[in-house]
Structures are given as structure tokens and as C-alpha cells.
């Protein structure tokens, strides 16, 4: 089971997908492309609160992917 966590105004929205279900994976991949296309950065979260890993391509094996909106200077 994989989870895509998208940061938004409600805190975050979580989308789970079944790695054994090709349709579910395809949907997750589509979401990944859409979000990264909009400027979100995808980060594979590390379990221990470590730095994680920036991912540019959908990987169904990543357990938790965090999507961070584009940054802006304040």
C-alpha cells in the first residue's frame, strides 16, 4: 500500500493506492504527474524523520510520497 500526501489548506489530503492493483497504481501515477506538472515537489518520506529523497519520477514502491507546493519568497 502506498500513500500520496498532498499539502493543502486542509492540512493535507491523503490518497492511498494498492501497489498490487495496476489500476490503482495508474491512478496514483496520473496524480503524481499532474501534481508535479503543477509545480509540486515529490518527496519520498523517510521513516525516522530523516531528510527523505526528492523524486522526479513516479515510483510505486515508495511507501509515502509528500507533495509540496511550489515555494515562494516572503
Amino acid at each position: 500500500m502506498g500513500i500520496q500526501i498532498v499539502m493543502d489548506r486542509s492540512g493535507d489530503t491523503r490518497h492511498e493506492f494498492d501497489t498490487a492493483d495496476s489500476r490503482s497504481v495508474a491512478l496514483a501515477e496520473k496524480r503524481f504527474r499532474e501534481l508535479t506538472g503543477k509545480g509540486f515537489r515529490a518527496v519520498a518520506l523517510a521513516k525516522d524523520g530523516g531528510p527523505g529523497r526528492l523524486i522526479g519520477k513516479f515510483d510505486p514502491q515508495v511507501e509515502q510520497t509528500l507533495f509540496i507546493p511550489q515555494l515562494q519568497g516572503g
Binding site: 499539502m7 492540512g11 527523505g52 526528492l54 515555494l71 515562494q72 519568497g73
Partner: protein, 241 residues
């Protein structure tokens, strides 16, 4: 004070009371000679007012002004009325000015109070052990979104960062590219300090994700950015000294 002057002033006060905000100019004073004489006061807007006047009301005034006929008495009363009316107008103006000042002071006090209220930490703000159980730290509504954001942040802090955050309200991050130390304080903007090797602040950085995100999300995005794409983040960020 002579009785006639008291009557005159009462008439002037009545005129001021009747014509409130735009007091008319005093035009004339007249004595109506009849079985029951009356003292009249006339104003520029046509307003006239009068009061009964007895001869004994005028004796001492006539003596003081050596006014022994109606014409000279009228002149003396007009002069007295002008003097008194000018004083009354001045007093009224001063009173209005005082009221205006009091109003402004009150509004500023309320504004200051409102501002202080809006900046004051709320009860449902984050609680950090270091500040005591009952004390709150920083302003944040306890919305579901906020709680979700804080949970996500805490789930993705290392044990050391989490401990630091609970204790001090900030946590430190090592820049993934430069190895520099950063301190991310609880907040959504202007909350990143770059530290030297002794932990002293060198400068501040300000960047955050688009979309009015909750505090937890913003802090996690800042941490992730500094750890994973530090240089790009700092290129976007504003530097503060």
C-alpha cells in the same frame, strides 16, 4: 454679577443651546419698553429670544456704565453681550476639541487593545513543555487543518528535532547541499535563521510554499526544502539581516 448681566447670559446660553453646532453671530440687543419690559437678543440667523427685565435688575449695571437712558443702556448691554458671547463660543469650541481628543484617544486605545488581542497567543496555541503546562506559545487556531498539519510535521521530524521543537518551539536542520545549520522557528514566514558554528544567528531567510498552508505544513516544507533542495530554496527566499 448684576442681575441684568445674568439674564443676558442666560439668553445667550439659550441661543447657543438652540443653535447647537453652528452658532449664529450676535447681532443686537434690544430693550422692549412696555408695561412689562423685556430684554431681547437677536442673532444673524434670525433667531430672537427674550426674558422679562425689571428696572431694579438694571440699577447697578446702569451705575457701573453710567447709562441713564435706553440708548446708552442698550449699547452697554450689547457690548457686555458681545464679550460674554465670544467667551461662550470659545468655551464651546474648547469643549468640542476636548471631546474630539477624548474620542480619538478612546479609538486609539480600542485599536491598540484590538491589535494586542490579535497578537496575543491564544489558549489553543501550541504548548511547549519548556514554557510550563499551562502557558501557550504563539498564535494558532485549533482547527482540524492545523492539527493535521502539526501531526504531519511531527511525524516527519527526527527524534532530536522533535525534542528540540517541544522544548524550545524550534528545531534545527542541516542544509543538504552546504551543510550549514538552520533554525526553523514555529511560524509560517520569516521564521528561518541561519546559524554559525556556535549557534549564533547569521541571517534570516524567508520562503514558504504557495497556497496559505497551515503552520505544520509550512515548517515541514521548509525543513524538506533545506534538506533536499537547499540552493533552489534559498534562491527563491528573501534574505534578512
Amino acid at each position: 454679577m448684576e442681575r441684568v448681566v445674568q439674564i443676558l447670559r442666560a439668553l445667550l446660553r439659550r441661543a447657543l443651546g438652540e443653535n447647537g453646532r453652528e452658532p449664529p453671530a450676535l447681532v443686537d440687543v434690544a430693550i422692549e419698553s412696555a408695561a412689562q419690559p423685556r430684554l431681547w437678543v437677536e442673532f444673524s440667523n434670525g433667531y430672537r429670544t427674550s426674558a422679562p427685565l425689571l428696572p431694579e435688575d438694571c440699577f447697578s449695571f446702569c451705575e457701573r456704565h453710567s447709562a441713564w437712558d435706553l440708548a446708552s443702556l442698550r449699547r452697554a448691554l450689547l457690548s457686555e453681550a458681545r464679550f460674554a458671547y465670544t467667551r461662550m463660543l470659545q468655551d464651546q469650541s474648547d469643549m468640542r476639541e476636548r471631546r474630539r481628543r477624548a474620542w480619538v484617544t478612546e479609538q486609539m486605545r480600542r485599536l491598540g487593545h484590538g491589535l494586542a488581542q490579535s497578537l496575543r497567543p491564544r489558549r489553543d496555541a501550541l504548548r511547549f513543555a519548556g514554557f510550563g503546562g499551562g502557558r501557550t506559545f504563539l498564535d494558532e487556531g485549533r482547527s482540524e487543518a492545523h492539527e493535521r498539519g502539526m501531526r504531519l510535521l511531527k511525524e516527519n521530524l527526527s527524534p532530536a528535532q522533535l525534542q528540540q521543537y517541544h522544548k524550545y518551539g524550534y528545531f534545527e536542520v542541516i542544509g543538504g547541499r552546504s551543510g550549514k545549520r538552520y533554525r526553523i522557528r514555529h511560524g509560517r514566514s520569516m521564521n528561518i535563521d541561519q546559524l554559525d558554528k556556535n549557534g549564533r544567528r547569521i541571517c534570516g531567510w524567508c520562503f514558504f510554499p504557495e497556497g496559505s498552508l497551515v503552520t505544520g505544513d509550512v515548517m515541514l516544507a521548509q525543513k524538506t526544502a533545506l534538506e533536499l533542495f537547499e540552493l533552489e530554496a534559498l534562491k527563491i527566499a528573501n534574505k534578512m539581516w
